[in-house]
Symmetry: C2
Subunit: 337 residues, 2 copies
């Protein structure tokens, strides 16, 4: 029963059946008041009979504007980004846009073709979590459509972006550990080339400076790309002569890797980390997590984009930077609260 390519009914088909011109069908479908009730009903009947649907591709061509926005995330398998995507979805739908989704897999070299492909498909705007620091392709895309950066800032491009309080959150969580009396806090971080990596290290460092504790470089491990790397790094730290007495992890995967390492080593250490995650409260481990609403990053990014699209003919406003707040939560307190 599946229609073959090209077999779809057109407005002319509907018109023929309803004994009117295609133009009248068009009017009926757009709820144009200037159509008699009788014809209107005949048209609707024909539409139903044929299962007719307006061809959005043709409309886009005619009207200009595809009704789509493009979203590029680095890793949809990470709950952080799937929630971000969900937030984008939510607002996009609200404003009548569809979302064309791409996943760069954190491979910066694949990103340009993904972006180009989305532009080819006439997306009216883009929301991008940039995978790398080379961003000329994004500058090129900005010649065509507005681009909003999410989770990571643009490098030298003048455009909107939505970030979390990376520095502040990291500083605050680290400060909690220090306030608890720790002086040997290990830092387990993602690649420092990433904005979030750098900012969160900065926050970690600042917290130390504020209380006059010198971070021990032997306890700083960066460039951890996944949970397994974090697990190895943590096990390594635990084998050192001078062990850390607490850990700070820069994201959910790293926290999870560290926790796995502690479990395997049958050790308990206080862990602080960026990103909350499922079951963090039932691990029986004192956790200090920087929590925030990942959906909200997507929502805000979509709002910034939609706002720009709504004012396309006006003078474009200066680029804006929105920050999604973080808050530090304590999880897995010994009293099983």
């Amino acid at each position: 029963m599946t229609a073959r390519r090209g077999g779809l009914p057109t407005m002319h088909d509907v018109g023929r059946l309803a004994q009117v011109s295609a133009m009248t069908v068009s009017r009926v479908l757009k709820n144009d008041p200037g159509v008699s009730t009788a014809t209107r009903e005949r048209v609707f009947a024909a539409v139903d009979r044929l299962g007719y649907r307006r061809n959005q591709t043709a409309r886009s061509l005619r009207l200009g504007g595809s009704g789509m926005i493009g979203l590029v995330v680095t890793n949809l398998a990470n709950p952080f980004y799937s929630r971000l995507a969900l937030g984008v979805q939510e607002v996009a739908t609200e404003y009548g846009f569809r979302v064309l989704l791409s996943n760069s897999g954190e491979q910066a070299d694949r990103e340009p073709e993904l972006i180009d492909g989305l532009v080819d498909h006439q997306v009216e705007g883009l929301i991008v979590v940039p995978a790398g620091s080379r961003q000329q392709h994004l500058a090129a895309a900005m010649r065509h459509v507005p681009v909003v950066f999410a989770a990571r800032p643009p490098a030298g491009l003048d455009t909107d972006c939505v970030l979390v309080e990376d520095f502040h959150g990291a500083r605050q969580a680290t400060a909690r550990l220090l306030a608890d009396g720790h002086t040997r806090v290990a830092f387990l971080g993602n690649p420092p080339a990433l904005y979030t990596g750098a900012e969160r290290l900065r926050g970690f460092w600042a917290a130390h400076e504020e209380v006059g504790v010198e971070p021990d470089n032997a306890l700083i491990r960066q460039g951890l790309v996944d949970s397994a790397a974090a697990e190895r790094a943590t096990l390594d730290l635990l084998e050192q002569a001078e062990r850390p007495t607490a850990l700070f992890c820069t994201n959910n995967r790293i926290s999870q890797g560290s926790i796995r390492a502690l479990y395997k080593a049958d050790t308990t250490l206080p862990v602080a980390g960026f990103d909350d995650f499922d079951l963090s409260d039932v691990l029986g481990l004192p956790l200090t997590l920087v929590s925030y609403d990942a959906d909200e990053i997507g929502r805000q990014a979509a709002r910034l984009l939609v706002d720009r699209l709504d004012h396309r003919d006006a003078e474009p406003p200066p680029s804006r930077r929105v920050t999604v707040p973080t808050r530090v939560v304590r999880r897995g307190s010994p009293d099983r609260g």
Copy 2:
């Protein structure tokens, strides 16, 4: 610097700059051999200068076929579905398709408009995780494009689908608990109206019959829609006079809710459940999980769809049903392996 609507260069613009007709530009861009090297170079130069990109909307209209497939999932925030989406992405990209994503939020009544919208956008095919059992709108969509069902089967529609071994997996995991000597296994399930809910209960039941144990109806709780509901149901079970000695949960969220309840009640019970999840191995709780590759469901669904699209002009093959295998894994064994 962002282009205003309608300001994008066309083939004519490129042609004018390169002093050729639009037709020649078209030829160059499709690598048609019948163009002299000199003009070819002029055209490419003009393309670069203008930042020209072919308008995929116009191409779609002309060529028939948008190069997009639609994907509708019920809950992108659930890692299960975001991984499924990732699998779809992967295969779609491989075959040159883009993915137009929608999230039904498990609201069956929103699904029809989402589907219609995707069809309007001329998606060449659809992959759907149906939210409800009313599926006439999907039958309607099938008049336009092929539809592949994922994770849940079609109800009375003749079309491809990809499922996991719901019955088998549930039976096998339950059998493990029974083999361990349990005779009072509680069942914590999602709504039985959902295919997965019904099948997994069937598997649970079958495992009991096979060893001649009568399931206790007082231990069966269905209709749990989220983690919080599962937590409450579990706490309730624990307060019964005749407690269960083990739990079977029909999905990841339910398992997590049950685990949270056990944690709060400071109790340890063996838990079996469908779906593996992060950190399942470090909970210090004996878990028996039905594990499978969620990405693979998406990949297979995309392959079935692409295959149909590749043979649109031939006689459509009969509908196929693919099953993604499950395997039972033990997690959180006492020896911390």
